[in-house]
């Protein structure tokens, strides 16, 4: 894929641009926010959006824009690390299942059944019982939840590729199975994994919000979009804006990621692009 093909897919361009914008705002919060997020001032609480506080202030007088920038960083970080955990464990497992087959495949499939039986919330509950709530708790819970997803995507893709003759040709050339997986299977399923990665990133951001909302994720004084919603919960009926702003931020980020993911799939997978001609043999 080259840059020209990126611009052939407007969805991809829009999605990537919007995602990049939020990611940059989030990164910016590391070095600068309009106001320090720990800056509590009861005097200026519940300020409406205006010139001084673009998105207003919350019940403690903290600047909402600063909170959202910082919260977005937490959401992205949790989602991204969870994707890395999921892909880092899941893809090798899926590849191993595909190339070795037999007992290895059976174990991987049973493991993935098992992992699917534990929704992320249940894992988070168990970890919270063990170690107490926290952002790392959410990362691990979502990461474990991602593992079987990546394992299945990698296994499915690798199985489809491994029936092709060039894999047999590599075996004839004396390549060992791990080398074949690395040289021939992985590059050909990379696009599948990237697309799945964007989907899991958006799901991870949603899951982090949910876990923080029920108090199993990010803990104060750190902030995340979900935690902002938790804080705003009791004031929701009087000051709906405090819930609307972070909620809308989640929605827009997730939409941007999903559009980018759909665009990537169209751009990377020529089989889907040429579907119109797929019917016509001669």
């Amino acid at each position: 894929m080259n840059w020209r093909s990126v611009f052939k897919h407007p969805g991809l361009t829009i999605g990537l641009a919007a995602t990049a914008l939020f990611a940059m705002l989030a990164l910016l919060s590391l070095v600068w926010t309009p106001y320090p997020i720990a800056d509590i001032s009861i005097a200026r609480r519940f300020a409406t959006p205006g010139a001084e506080h673009w998105l207003g202030t919350d019940q403690l007088g903290r600047d909402m824009l600063s909170l959202i920038m910082s919260g977005t960083l937490t959401s992205f970080t949790v989602g991204a690390i969870a994707v890395l955990i999921g892909a880092g464990i899941g893809v090798p497992l899926g590849l191993a299942a595909a190339i070795y087959g037999g007992p290895v495949e059976w174990v991987v499939l049973r493991f993935s059944d098992l992992a699917f039986a534990f929704p992320a919330v249940v894992i988070a509950i168990l970890i919270a019982t063990l170690m107490g709530p926290g952002a790392s708790n959410a990362v691990i819970a979502i990461g474990i939840f991602n593992v079987p997803v990546f394992a299945q995507v990698a296994r499915g893709g690798a199985l489809a590729i491994s029936t092709l003759d060039f894999v047999a040709a590599a075996r004839l050339a004396g390549l060992r199975k791990p080398m074949i997986a690395l040289l021939h299977l992985l590059p050909n399923i990379a696009s599948l994994i990237i697309v799945q990665g964007t989907i899991q990133l958006s799901l991870g951001i949603l899951a982090e919000a949910g876990l923080s909302y029920i108090g199993l994720g990010t803990q104060p004084p750190a902030t995340s979009l979900g935690l902002m919603l938790r804080d705003a919960q009791s004031l929701f009926l009087i000051h709906p804006w405090l819930s609307l702003a972070p909620g809308l931020a989640i929605v827009v980020i997730v939409i941007a990621l999903n559009i980018a993911g759909d665009g990537l799939r169209d751009a990377l997978d020529p089989r889907l692009r040429n579907r119109g001609l797929a019917n016509v043999a001669g």
Binding site: F166, G174, G282
Partner: protein, 518 residues
Amino acid sequence: MSLVEIENLTISFGGKPAVSGLSLSINQGDRFGVIGESGSGKSLTALAITGLLPEDAEVSGTIRFDGAPLPQDEKAMARLRGQRIGMVFQEPMTALNPLMRVGAQIEEALKLNGQDGDSAVVGLLEEVGLEARHAARFPHQLSGGQRQRVMIAMALASAPDLMIADEPTSALDVITQRMVLDLIREICDRRQMTLIFISHDMRAVAALCDRIAVLRGGKLVESGTVKAVLSQPAEAYTQKLVAATRMVQRQGEPHVADKTLLEVDHLTRAFSQGGFWRWGTQPLLAVNDVSLSVSAGECLALVGPSGCGKTTLARMIVGLDSATSGQMQFEGTVYRGGDLPPARRADLSLVFQDPFGSFNPRLSVGQSLGEPLRLLPGLDHDEHDQRLVDAIESVGLERGMLTRFPHEFSGGQRQRLAIARALVTRPSLVVLDEPVSALDVSVRGDVLDLLARLQNQFGLTYIIISHDLDMVAAMADRVLVMEAGKIVEEGKPAALFAAPQHRLTKALMEARLPDLVS
């Protein structure tokens, strides 16, 4: 009177024409053959007649059916093709709904045309040579040939005026292919039906049709009666297609040395059915106690229907699979398959059937060609590069192509590259698995010429796996016929094909389509 009248038909996708300015006229009662290679636009033409083109196709020109232009309204067009046109497609595997019994699928076609009843289904099944009990089967419980018969029964349900058969036999094996062709001919005769038969196979068209149109790159090359076009083709392209149907003898002087290169000794390969849960299932013997020997310089052919075990045998010989029992001996090295030592693997290689699947799309041609050189660890960098250049030039391609990627090459070129890869380690034995069957007819001859030249030049020994008896007769010194994992007949091609002894060999010979009249 003409039943189908195509005038100046142009079909394009995204501005690129796939069919351009095509005009054809098909008369009532004609058996009309449309011949062309991949990309000739022959299938698109058939879809245009039935109004089944993909939505993104841009169409211009007119098509008249029985004097009237095709209706624009989708429903009217659907009813027209349901009632008056029957269609049979190429892929019997995917053309039937996998979740529905075939009887119900035929009945549906009957009901759509206002007919009714189980008796009609049975009648149709019997007409196409199936039995009433087959109606209760699901598609996956039928063989490819049986599924194609179901398709024909469905096409006949409305007693159509026109039947369009689009490569109806190219996914079937030789014997089934002949039976399906005979069935189509018989039904057209009995029902006085007009037929449009689309194929890449000159001999199938010659055997079935009375008129013919040759298409290339979306344009009409020539048309006329089968007799006129095939005996005196006016256009160079048609001449080439006709010539390609006649296999030229390719063995030169006898080159077989008196030395055994490969010895296969009571080889058996059993596949357990059911994997992890193997309660009470019999293992399937894909190769069953096979012994054979190959002499240096020989060209040995293994022929047989699909599923006879010839490919499994080839995979064991090159070391992709291991025997359950028995052993092989290659120039003194005893092995069972996968245990062939890497140093010996360099002396053996395999050319795959499908030139599109045999190259990793992410690697350059040079990287793919260089892969087998891992088996020769002693090569330095210059020798390595020289091997690649030698290999690619020996198959008639240029060294500059080494940096390109597979998708930049045509099917014929890719098969040359696959041969180059097989030769890069300078092996003594090359196994060729259906080396030309995935290629267009017009390039098959060139690839076979190349193989014959390389054999002479490098003193190679070939084992050719094929179902194409004409190709085998032209290339092989000796033929082995396989059925159900066993070798059932053996001999020199001329003698074997002139007087086949075994039932299978006889059936294969009978299924051969007659040569073109010249």
